[in-house]
Point group: C2
Chain length 305, copies 2
């Protein structure tokens, strides 16, 4: 066995858990470097941004970025800015969603939410500043002007009224109301799915892939995004609060529309697995270089936290 073969064999034995740890460490460093220093003024704002961001979340979106990068042959160093940017958008949305006027959550990832640890005004501003820092980080990251502009457009569309912010608005309006399955799917696709899909589209834009490959990744990202959210809904019913780092049963308590609430737990589980299969089909044309992304898709639809 040559040295190259040995290295390859070793790479193949790397589990998804190990990969997730490596990716999480990468994006943690990138976030730390991109965030303003905690002792520079306005220090309280900077500290709130860092408190909410640098706390070891699952880093699902960065993991999707790096795994898609492996599929496309993009070095992780080329993707650190995108990974940090998309995580900033995700964190800002959590900080704002947790506010008293929204979900009024006390804990997040096992710690006090931003407005509980600091105050509401600081949490609003920290979210605002994280959102704009995401775009600044993308704009100042590696890549040609065309590539970066394409990535900024992807992230903006996924975050705005046609994506995450719009989905959150539908979610708020839906509390206590019965949604149809189609309405619920549209809401999930916008609120959670758009940003997960953007996580595979950002490396595609960086690599300037053709329309056919972009289409495969877009459909993979959309199916996986919906599966991820259904699993999230299921975990709120069946999950372990200690593993999740937050209380369960909150969706039902708040009258939030969820997949299992509409179709029942068994059908919701089945739907998540069907979407997982659909997602994998989009990767069928690829060989071993898609294995990290396949393993990640499996992990995300079979997670317990």
């Amino acid at each position: 066995m040559t040295r190259t073969q040995t290295t390859k064999a070793m790479a193949d034995t790397v589990t998804i858990d190990q990969r997730l740890l490596v990716w999480a460490e990468r994006v943690e460093k990138a976030l730390d470097a991109a965030l303003p220093l905690p002792d520079a003024e306005p220090a309280r704002l900077h500290q709130a941004m860092r408190y909410s961001t640098l706390n070891g979340g699952k880093r699902v979106r960065p993991a999707l970025i790096y795994a898609t990068g492996e599929l496309l042959g993009i070095a992780p160093t080329e993707l650190d800015a995108s990974a940090a940017a998309i995580e900033m958008i995700h964190v800002y949305s959590l900080v704002h969603d947790d506010l008293p006027a929204m979900d009024d959550d006390e804990f997040r990832r096992g710690r006090l939410t931003c407005h509980r640890q600091y105050d509401e005004a600081t949490a609003i501003l920290a979210g605002d500043a994280l959102q704009v820092l995401a775009f600044q980080t993308l704009a100042e990251g590696p890549g040609s002007a065309e590539q970066k502009l394409a990535m900024i457009q992807i992230l903006a569309r996924a975050s705005g009224t046609a994506g995450m912010a719009g989905g959150q608005a539908v979610d708020l309006a839906a509390a206590g109301r019965v949604l149809t399955l189609i309405e619920l799917e549209e809401m999930h696709k916008a609120k959670t799915g758009a940003l997960l899909q953007a996580s595979v589209l950002l490396p595609a834009a960086k690599a300037e892939v053709d329309a056919s490959l972009r289409g495969c990744l877009a459909r993979f990202g959309q199916a996986l995004g919906l599966a991820f959210q259904i699993v999230d809904d299921l975990l709120d019913i069946e999950g372990d609060p200690a593993l999740l780092g937050k209380a369960t049963g909150m969706d039902q308590a708040r009258g939030k529309p969820t997949y299992p609430a509409i179709v029942g737990v068994p059908a919701a589980r089945l739907k998540a697995q069907e979407l997982h299969t659909l997602a994998l089909q989009e990767l069928s044309a690829f060989g071993a270089q898609a294995d990290p992304l396949r393993a990640l898709a499996h992990f995300l639809t079979n997670r317990n936290a």
Copy 2:
């Protein structure tokens, strides 16, 4: 007199009030076109974004963009996206600053504030969505990829922790505390000045001007930005609530640090005029093509609303 001379003579007689009206109409149309439709879902969010944006504010930042465009020979059509984008950032900051956890304002521009007209959650989301739409609008506007990327960087830096959001954090932290004049100026430069300065730097990036000219415009924008905020502080003491469309005396009632509170009203007036003079000096190398920008600077430091 030739036709060209006649047209020029006519153009020279256009007052700044007339120009402001034309520019305001331009940006109103650009905003209307860029904002999501009011009857598309999520309709309440879209309506809140439109309610807060399409209400005939002074449009100071778009006016600075168009006036700088006249100086640099850029057609207004080339600047509509920038004008809409910077106004969206300004409006989002007003929507969030008005929230109960921040300034808790009931009226803005003579109408109910966004969270009063709708609700707090919708106002938070409307602000979030306006911020991201600003970057999307710039990214999808006219210009080369390099020009648009440069504009996105300018707008991001002016809006983030080193600019507007950071200045608002300092402002909140300063309530009830005595600031030094230097601290106050730094706060004003960040909170209001950065976005006003960005308004002259955006057309400069679009025109790819050299460093020397960019320096003149940067210093012009910074001096005018501070003058504008001092006049704002003065209007809160001496202004007419009917003309302003909001209550006066609020800074003092809230213990907010202001220029006149530290140095007194006469010294604050003098400072605004000094800054106005400084700003004009930066335009001294230019001929008649800088007249709209000069007239706008005069208007902004001598306004009564």
